[in-house]
């Protein structure tokens, strides 16, 4: 390994006893970490384990409540001048600027007349180095690029020298919208970058990638580092166990084996269908058209113009801030918005019906609050999600559409919601459930696997297994 050549170097970043509180939440609870040149650190852990807080402490976005962050290798006082670069999960380019202009934003050394030429050259060089044959024009405006191309540009900006030199590049789920071939190019570049003395923090939920590229793996749980070993020190199962994965003992299937479903209540031209009382899963790799298919299904079934007394369909959002929560309102009002027209008299809100429905669902779904008139933002993310479930389930709509609704939800809440979904399905409701977690999809009665915006497989009964879903997700890309 090249790595030994750098062993004596000072760490690029060194964290000692770092603690970070957000209100009462301990996001980081005493973390020590050193990253040396040549290392590729795989950072894994469940949602809310503290990964993003740790990364934000390293790049200077968040200052720790206690403990120190130092950059011994460069002696720089702060992350930016120490050569720490971040490529974030959410897209952080300026969509109205060109690719080269976006480099200018994070490269203050480019100045004076004629800065464009070196900017174009630098970004082109970086793109060529990371993604050979990328086909991206440095003069293209970012909003004319596809999502994958934007992510490639962002990664290339992260690795570009930008006047100094990138010493530590933080990649947060960098492959989430890249296809397998491009992702492989990236992994190859990371290896090359580390061999020549750089360091990378690599966050991914794709454990295969982590094993593939990381030289050392750090496992986080509840704001603490629970394991920190070289990659050889882990087995796949050992890693999953360290994260506290509970998947194995959840396999006892609550699926009713001999379910007799009712008549078909949903049928789309795309081939998506669902019967009364059925829980239908949508699966496949993220971003392959599942969310779009569900949104189109819902928007077609409801109207922006005509108020409906009894909705045919309700929607549970997964991206709470974008699609779900009404932030100025109380829990009560957030939960009742979809049932108002069912109970209204003369167009006026029936406030007794509203209050009793909210109270019933607070109890049934276990929203943790003393008073439903508290602001909805006073709740934790998981409880906000429960409010969105209550909003949908409180209505009499026969079909419930769920767009990856378990994002950022803790295990306990998930179990509660699984049970309620089963109970409601037994009462004759139909669920269409898109999930990025295969283990959740395996709870469904029928699964549609999406690839490139189309349905690539329909699985039922015993065929619903992780292997079959993966097969259908990748199938064509093998060729």
């Amino acid at each position: 390994m090249q790595q030994s050549a750098f062993e004596n170097d000072a760490p690029i970043v060194a964290l000692t006893e770092v603690v970070k509180h957000f209100g009462a939440v301990r996001a980081l609870d005493g973390v020590d970490l050193e990253i040396r040149p040549g290392e590729c650190l795989g950072l894994v852990g469940h949602n809310g384990a503290g990964k993003s807080t740790l990364v934000n402490v390293v790049n200077g976005g968040v200052s720790p409540t206690a403990g120190t962050v130092a950059f011994p290798a460069s002696g720089a006082p702060e992350a930016l001048s120490a050569g720490v670069r971040s490529v974030f999960q959410e897209l952080s380019l300026c969509p109205n600027l060109t690719v080269a202009e976006n480099l200018r934003i994070s490269h203050s050394g480019l100045r004076g007349p004629g800065w464009r030429r070196p900017a174009r050259a630098e970004i082109r060089q970086s793109l060529d180095a990371v993604f050979p044959g990328h086909g991206i024009d440095a003069n293209a405006t970012v909003d004319t690029l596809s999502i994958a191309e934007r992510q490639m540009v962002e990664i290339a900006i992260g690795f570009a020298p930008r006047g100094t030199e990138a010493r530590l590049v933080i990649l947060d789920e960098p492959t989430s919208s890249l296809d397998a071939g491009i992702a492989e190019q990236l992994l190859r570049h990371i290896r090359h970058f580390c061999e020549s003395g750089g360091a990378v923090i690599f966050i991914s939920h794709m454990l295969g990638e982590v094993f593939d590229v990381a030289s050392r793996i750090l496992v986080m749980k509840d704001g603490k580092v629970v394991a920190d070993r070289t990659v050889g020190g882990f087995t796949r199962q050992g890693l999953v166990d360290a994260m506290g994965h509970v998947a194995t003992d959840e396999r006892q299937d609550p699926r009713g084996k001999a379910h007799a479903f009712g008549k078909e209540v949903v049928h789309t031209s795309q081939g998506l269908s669902a019967r009364r009382g059925e829980v239908v899963g949508l699966s496949g790799l993220a971003g392959h058209g599942q969310a779009r298919a569900l949104a189109r299904l819902y928007l077609d079934a409801t109207s922006s113009w005509r108020p409906t007394g009894k909705p045919r369909m309700v929607f549970v959002a997964g991206d709470r801030t974008r699609d779900g929560i009404l932030p100025l309102w109380s829990i009560l009002r957030n939960a009742s918005i979809s049932i108002l027209s069912e109970t209204a008299k003369w167009g006026l809100v029936d406030r007794d019906a509203e209050t009793s429905a909210a109270a019933e669902w607070k109890r049934r779904i276990g929203i943790r609050t003393e008073d439903v008139t508290n602001p909805v933002l006073s709740l934790s993310g998981g409880n906000q999600q429960k409010v969105l479930f209550a909003r949908a389930l409180a209505s009499a709509a026969p079909v419930v559409v769920m767009d990856d609704p378990m994002r950022g939800v803790d295990v306990g809440t998930k179990q509660d919601v699984y049970a309620i979904i089963r109970a409601e399905a037994a009462n004759g409701r139909t669920f269409l459930w898109y999930s990025t977690e295969t283990e959740e999809v395996c709870r469904c009665d029928r699964v549609f696997v999406f690839r490139n915006g189309e349905i690539s497989a329909e699985l039922t009964g015993a065929d619903i297994t992780e292997e079959r879903i993966l097969e259908a997700s990748f199938e064509m890309q093998e060729a």
């Binding site: 952080s92 109205n96 800065w115």
Partner: protein, 311 residues
């Protein structure tokens, strides 16, 4: 085709202006002369400068409802102080520009809605203008008058000045590094902040530039009209917004085009001249301007639709 148009958004404003110009020449062939063109675009220079000023604000996702009263105030200061005691006049104008920059910094620092702050400032500017010039009057400094009535060879003053304004602002906003960062603030302020830029100072800069161009607008207006009053440019608030939109700019996302904005302003100035050539009853002149605005914006929509289908 759609791809081409979306890359070259500037084509639509150019097209609208050309059609309007062709229609004007068709109705009034005598306008096709040095003198005629100068007349057609007579008031275009201050409108173009005001439009550029508005564009600076819209570039950082805000909107300025006080621009018209600000230009009026500048006109009043120009026709009084700048004429009578130039040094004091210059100092006052500089202070106004700094106030604009300060307004941008405060709006950003306190996260205030720009639309309301500028609404309040419009009362302040209006009051100050009444203070400076309680009744219409004053007179233009001679050098300003001479500058605005200069007759350059080949092309009339209004056209030459518009080209110059477009060129300078294009270099400043589109080509220069700092202009790129300013547009970045409109596109994604968070990522600009993350890259280590002081966004409050950038916003102050954008507002300060707006104030600067607002000052130019007021001065050139006095140069053309030779006197001022406190209500002289109230229309400029709405004209400037319309001009930016006609030029292909958008309210959010930092999508602005200085060249487009100047062309949009020229289109608005020409629309007024065109309507008077049409011998349209004066009753309908304002309404016809509104109709032209709607028409051009509808054309923009057709272009946008194409972008979507091909994009």
């Amino acid at each position: 085709m759609g791809q081409f148009l979306s890359r070259h958004r500037i084509l639509l404003p150019i097209f609208s202006l050309s059609v309007l110009l062709a229609a004007t020449f068709y109705m009034q062939p005598r306008a096709m002369s040095y003198f005629g063109i100068n007349l057609l675009f007579n008031l275009a220079v201050p409108i173009a400068l005001a439009t550029v000023a508005q564009m600076m604000i819209m570039m950082v996702n805000d909107i300025d409802l006080s621009l018209g009263t600000f230009v009026s105030l500048v006109a009043c200061v120009t026709a009084t102080f700048l004429n009578d005691s130039p040094l004091l006049g210059v100092l006052i104008l500089a202070a106004l520009i700094l106030t604009y920059a300060g307004m941008g910094a405060v709006i950003h620092a306190l996260d205030l809605p720009a639309i309301v702050v500028t609404l309040g400032m419009s009362f302040v500017w209006g009051g100050l203008a009444l203070f400076v010039l309680p009744s219409p009057g004053g007179s233009s400094p001679d050098w300003l008058r001479a500058l605005m009535t200069v007759k350059p060879p080949l092309v009339p003053m209004a056209v030459a000045a518009s080209v110059l304004i477009a060129l300078v602002t294009h270099l400043l906003i589109i080509r220069s590094g700092i202009g790129t960062v300013l547009r970045g603030v409109g596109g994604n302020a968070r990522s600009v902040a993350r890259a280590g830029w002081p966004v409050a100072r950038l916003k102050a800069l954008a507002y300060g530039l707006s104030g600067l161009f607002g000052v130019f607008a007021g001065m050139t207006l006095v140069g053309l009209t030779t006197s001022a009053d406190a209500n002289i440019a109230l229309r400029y608030t709405l004209l400037s917004i319309a001009g930016v939109i006609l030029g292909g700019g958008e309210f959010i996302g930092g999508k602005v085009s200085p060249v487009g904005a100047v062309i949009g302003a020229l289109t608005l100035a020409l629309a007024a001249s065109f309507l008077s050539f049409m011998r349209l009853s004066p009753d309908w002149q304002i309404g016809a301007q509104g109709a032209i605005l709607i028409l051009v914006l509808t054309a923009r929509l057709i272009f946008a639709r194409r972008e979507n289908t091909t994009g």
